[in-house]
Symmetry: C2
Subunit: 343 residues, 2 copies
């Protein structure tokens, strides 16, 4: 493991010259010095010591990505484009699952995160993970670069990227009513998180506006897992009057819904249409493939990365918060179809 000093010695120059040549692409120096250093470094497989460089430059070239569980399907779909966007800018990503950091509550979680070797942090579904807005603001004031994905914190120095959930639901409702559906059930989020709440509220508002039936018995809250989507749908199908379509607030619940329909011998989409929201990657390959709203992960992620890097690059100085809203798109697949001629 060679250091800059070893290379300098072998090349017969000082270590600062080596450093300069190795870092500043366009520094002026005699070609033979430059070339000699470069060659010797390459021949000896010189690798700069990350810690030393970071210590000196006071940066890590790393952005943290915090989610409750980075291996859940939604988070994984965000990881992909974030990773790419960061790599393009020569940054690394550090994935952090909140659930691994014990149960010390939000302050404890943030304290641990701040101890990590990162220059900035992207938080996924922050209203879920860190509902305490004041705590976030406190850290932001204390110099933490922060961008929240799928959750907006007004005021303060926290950037955000959010999805236009209302637009998404509108697209889905248009699609379903366009197919001829009038009896629409909904599986809302039991935790009432910001984005999911908007989805549910928009659904209700549209039903009202379009004079379609609003029935509480067609709303079965879940926490957005396959298992709960399954159980909720079982309950729903037990009602005396069945809807012709079910919209789940996320894709996982929709998968559970499809499985429950199958177990109840209700065919999808012939007898009931099922729709999801998010378009996680398996949605296109499920059986039947799922009609859903694409959350446009790559744009969400790219925006968050742009935000956080803008903040990081404005080193030391004040950083202005930036807020981006992404429009989702409809993906029509096999799980929805026109309802049968009613009895």
């Amino acid at each position: 493991m060679y250091t800059i000093l070893d290379i300098a010695q072998k090349a017969g120059v000082s270590h600062s010259t080596v450093s300069r040549v190795l870092n500043n692409k366009f520094i002026r120096c005699t070609p033979q010095t430059r070339e000699k250093i470069l060659r010797i470094a390459a021949d000896n497989d010189y690798r700069p010591n990350t810690s030393a460089r970071n210590l000196k430059t006071q940066s890590y070239q790393t952005i943290g990505f915090l989610a409750y569980d980075i291996t859940d399907m939604f988070a994984v779909d965000c990881i992909r484009p974030i990773e790419e966007a960061l790599a393009r800018r020569d940054f690394q990503a550090l994935w952090v699952s909140a659930k691994l950091h014990g149960s010390g509550g939000q302050p404890d979680l943030l304290r641990k995160v701040r101890g990590l070797p990162i220059d900035g942090l992207i938080v996924l579904e922050a209203d879920n993970l860190i509902p305490d807005v004041e705590l976030l603001k406190l850290h932001a004031r204390d110099g933490m670069r922060l961008s929240t994905l799928i959750r907006m914190v007004p005021g303060g120095h926290i950037s955000s990227v959010t999805l236009d959930n209302a637009h998404g639901i509108r697209l889905m409702m248009d699609h379903l009513t366009g197919l001829g559906h009038r009896e629409l059930a909904f599986l809302p989020d039991a935790r009432r998180h910001q984005g999911a709440k908007v989805r549910f509220d928009t659904y209700k508002a549209l039903l009202r506006r379009r004079k379609l039936p609003l029935r509480e018995e067609w709303w079965e809250p879940t926490e957005g897992t396959i298992e709960e989507g399954y159980a909720a749908t079982k309950r729903l199908l037990g009602r005396k009057h069945r809807p012709t379509a079910i919209i789940a607030f996320n894709d996982l619940a929709a998968f559970g819904c499809i499985r429950a329909c199958k177990d109840e011998n209700v065919s999808v989409p012939e007898e009931i249409s099922v729709a999801g929201f998010d378009d996680i990657s398996i949605a296109a390959h499920y059986n039947p493939s799922l009609t859903t709203i694409s959350s446009n992960y790559s744009l969400l992620a790219k925006s968050a990365v742009d935000q956080i890097l803008a903040m990081v690059e404005r080193r030391g100085g004040l950083f202005e918060a930036d807020h981006v809203v992404v429009k989702p798109e409809l993906r029509v697949r096999e799980s929805t179809a026109s309802p049968r001629r009613s009895t």
Copy 2:
């Protein structure tokens, strides 16, 4: 952002005393000194500088996990238990997707990986990613702590964790023949990677031993994606004689297989049984849920972590390679059933 020096000043002691108190849990010193330092550090929200500490200790408390794409379903399922095992030992994980590191070939990939702030590396499916065994050995000799997951490198200082693939296929064949199947097709890995090859070879060997029909027209290679599993199955179903069961070398191909059957109006499992291998997390929730072989990710991952940390802790000294073989288990679900009474 306070340093150890600020704390020392506030406490009226030297920075070395602060360092000692903060690090060595059981160092002897006057209780009042100790307590004062601890309090001041806590009150001022002191956080040690990672770079400085790493530079001094020559370690990162971080293990890298290298996969072609860490967001593919198989890799994600490994991440979960690896993360947990590392967290238990106060280590962090750094996830690295090889595909982001350009197309410089294996030497280039390894060079980049060695530049990362990690103490050791776990490589997933190394025979896929870095087939060049000598290159791996070279780096291992050069001090790189390395554990390969799902691939064994004999000799050298590279630890490995592998799966008993032959055992897995045996379990699956027993299951299917037990149900009464005699006409078994197989979707092998077109890339002929080590583990997948064993699966295919074992399948053929067992057919022979049990005097069941071996028909090349029932073997359709894929690279293990849903799309290819779909296409391969379409071809398979076009043959004049259809098998009663299809075993895919991995779960994704099996999903594609199921979808193809549906499109051809062949019901699963009533007309054809479909089986996978790996038991990725969606397998239990697919429609129909998939009969498959559980690769026991948590044990695989935990073993790899144990190996790598053992090597890391044997700092500087020689490290002996360790080899672990994990037994997979059968998971019977909806996608397999007894064949219909033959025509």
